[in-house]
């Protein structure tokens, strides 16, 4: 009963907070609600015994990326930005697409089969600690996808530097 209660709380609050985030007029307030949302997502990870992911969620998303969001928002001239018209006017099309996705998801839930339980049971992770278990897997079985992900990030970093450099050269 208690696990369902916890999950219900997190799921309901996450949905509620997401709605609040996209309906705020003031983008800075929006970012603050998003901060609360990220903490709830971290709570959901903790609830799943993924303590390392929970900590990284707070450090990377709440601590670094959201601060960068805030930084960009503070540098924008909000009073002028707010005068821009809505980007998309055709809400019936949006409603149609989202309902279609909802129907597909609901249809897919029916045929959901939980995967076979591997050796990474809760007891195993508790004994091994989550950080260690995750690190071992990432650097042995899943080394290739891990390296590809880091290469993609490296490309993004180099791209950002190239873009920034070009601007100073044109002066």
């Amino acid at each position: 009963m208690l696990p369902e209660l916890f999950f219900g709380y997190f799921a309901a609050v996450i949905i509620l907070l997401s709605v609040i985030v996209i309906t705020r007029r003031n983008p800075v307030h929006s970012v603050m609600w998003m901060l609360l949302l990220f903490f709830h997502i971290a709570g959901l990870y903790l609830f799943l015994n993924a303590e390392f992911i929970a900590a990284i969620q707070v450090i990377v998303y709440a601590g670094a990326i959201l601060v960068l969001f805030l930084f960009v928002l503070l540098l924008l001239n909000l009073r002028e930005e707010l005068k821009v018209k809505r980007f998309v006017g055709a809400w019936p099309a949006g409603l149609f697409i989202t309902t279609a996705i909802l129907v597909i998801v609901l249809g897919a839930v029916k045929s959901f089969v939980p995967g076979p339980a591997g050796k990474y049971s809760i007891e195993f992770i508790k004994q091994e600690t989550h950080t260690k278990a995750l690190g071992k897997l990432l650097y042995t079985d899943y080394l290739f996808p891990f390296e590809i992900a880091s290469l993609v990030l490296l490309v993004a970093i180099i791209g950002a530097i190239v873009l920034a450099k070009r601007k100073t050269r044109s002066k």
Binding site: V28, M32, F52, A62, G63, F71, L74
Partner: protein, 348 residues
């Protein structure tokens, strides 16, 4: 009625309530002692800097000014609370609370002596990083919500400073994590006690250096206190705050300093233990309780904070960024590679 009570009050629930009660007691003790420490850290700082500059420091209130922090606290509590007319009120109220709460929450994972820690979690060190990055919101929001250019500049400076130095600080502690093989602070201290030198500050001297510099920048202390540089920004991000809201920022800064000192003591200086070769030479020292060693290390680091403040001038902002990105981060990365290589070779 009594049936329901009997079902509710079983052995299990009583045990659980007992545990919760003990945790609350621990929280109360830790908070009380920390806030007292914070109050007297301000007094101590004024005394130390005063004597370093050939002044006396606070001397009027009580014996050698010993009651000065209490007088200051009472004064701040009764001061008028001024809110700028165009401030964003909810965020203006929220900012000092976020700043203070994130600092106080970090206390929950610090082991003060063997076995005394409120939450003995496996990711203690990561939890500390998470909370210190949350504290940055308090600073940025206070800068933005005050609707004042000085506050805003202070907030922006702090945002980029904290992000830059958080990377260096995280990387500097990776060496410690590799040496101890754990993120649990109690385990890190125990691993140091097993290690021949008794402290990770000796094999991890590069990491320790990067950590010290990053800790000064993270807590916005001199020589990196650009977010509140009084000669250019009045008081930086908390210019518009007064009364008890100002006091919350003040308390939060000193709590953050205490926490940084505690992390240094736990991760690099051996926490509540002293090196084995010292206890072997002087077995009498075994009887000294661990909290004494821990507090000595924390106080020494706090003293270092004051010493640097009284000695060094403030850096320029571009110098600060250059130190962070061009010196500290490469140095910390080099330390990780070096530690990893030496660990696999079996030297460390």
């Amino acid at each position: 009625m009594s049936d329901i009570l009997n079902i509710l009050i079983t052995e299990e629930t009583l045990n659980m309530l007992m545990k919760i009660g003990i945790i609350f007691l621990k929280i109360a003790v830790v908070l009380g002692i920390t806030l007292l420490h914070v109050a007297y850290a301000t007094y101590w700082e004024r005394k130390v800097i005063g004597h370093m500059q050939v002044r006396l420091g606070p001397i009027e209130v009580g014996w050698h000014g010993f009651l000065q922090p209490i007088a200051d606290g009472v004064k701040l509590f009764f001061k008028e609370d001024i809110i700028p007319a165009n401030a964003d009120k909810p965020l203006f109220y929220l900012a000092p609370v976020i700043f203070m709460v994130s600092a106080l929450t970090s206390l929950s994972v610090l082991p003060f002596f063997d076995g005394f820690v409120i939450a003995d979690i496996n990711i203690g060190l990561l939890f500390l990083f998470a909370m210190s990055s949350l504290g940055a919101y308090g600073i940025i929001l206070s800068g933005w919500a005050s609707n004042s250019k000085y506050s805003f500049l202070g907030g922006l400076r702090s945002a980029s400073q904290v992000i830059s130095y958080e990377i260096a600080m995280g990387l500097s502690l990776v060496g410690v994590m590799m040496m101890a093989g754990s993120l649990n602070l109690s385990d890190i201290v125990r691993a140091q006690h097993q290690y021949p030198t008794g402290m990770f500050a000796i094999p991890q001297f590069l990491g320790f250096f990067v950590f010290i510099v990053a800790a000064f920048a993270e807590t916005n202390r001199l020589p990196f206190d650009l977010p509140e540089a009084e000669s250019e920004l009045v008081a930086g991000y908390f210019t518009e705050y007064s009364g008890f809201r100002f006091a919350l920022f003040f308390l939060g800064e000193y709590t953050a300093m205490l926490i940084m000192s505690s992390i240094a003591a736990l991760c690099f200086l051996g926490g509540w233990t002293i090196p084995k070769f010292i206890t072997d030479a002087m077995p009498l020292l075994m009887n000294v309780p661990g909290i004494v060693w821990f507090l000595i290390k924390v106080y020494a680091f706090m003293f270092f904070y004051y010493w640097v403040r009284a000695t060094l001038p403030r850096y320029r902002y571009d110098q600060l960024m250059a130190i962070g990105w061009k010196i500290l981060i490469p140095l910390a990365l080099f330390n990780i590679v070096l530690t990893g290589t030496l660990r696999t070779m079996g030297v460390l």
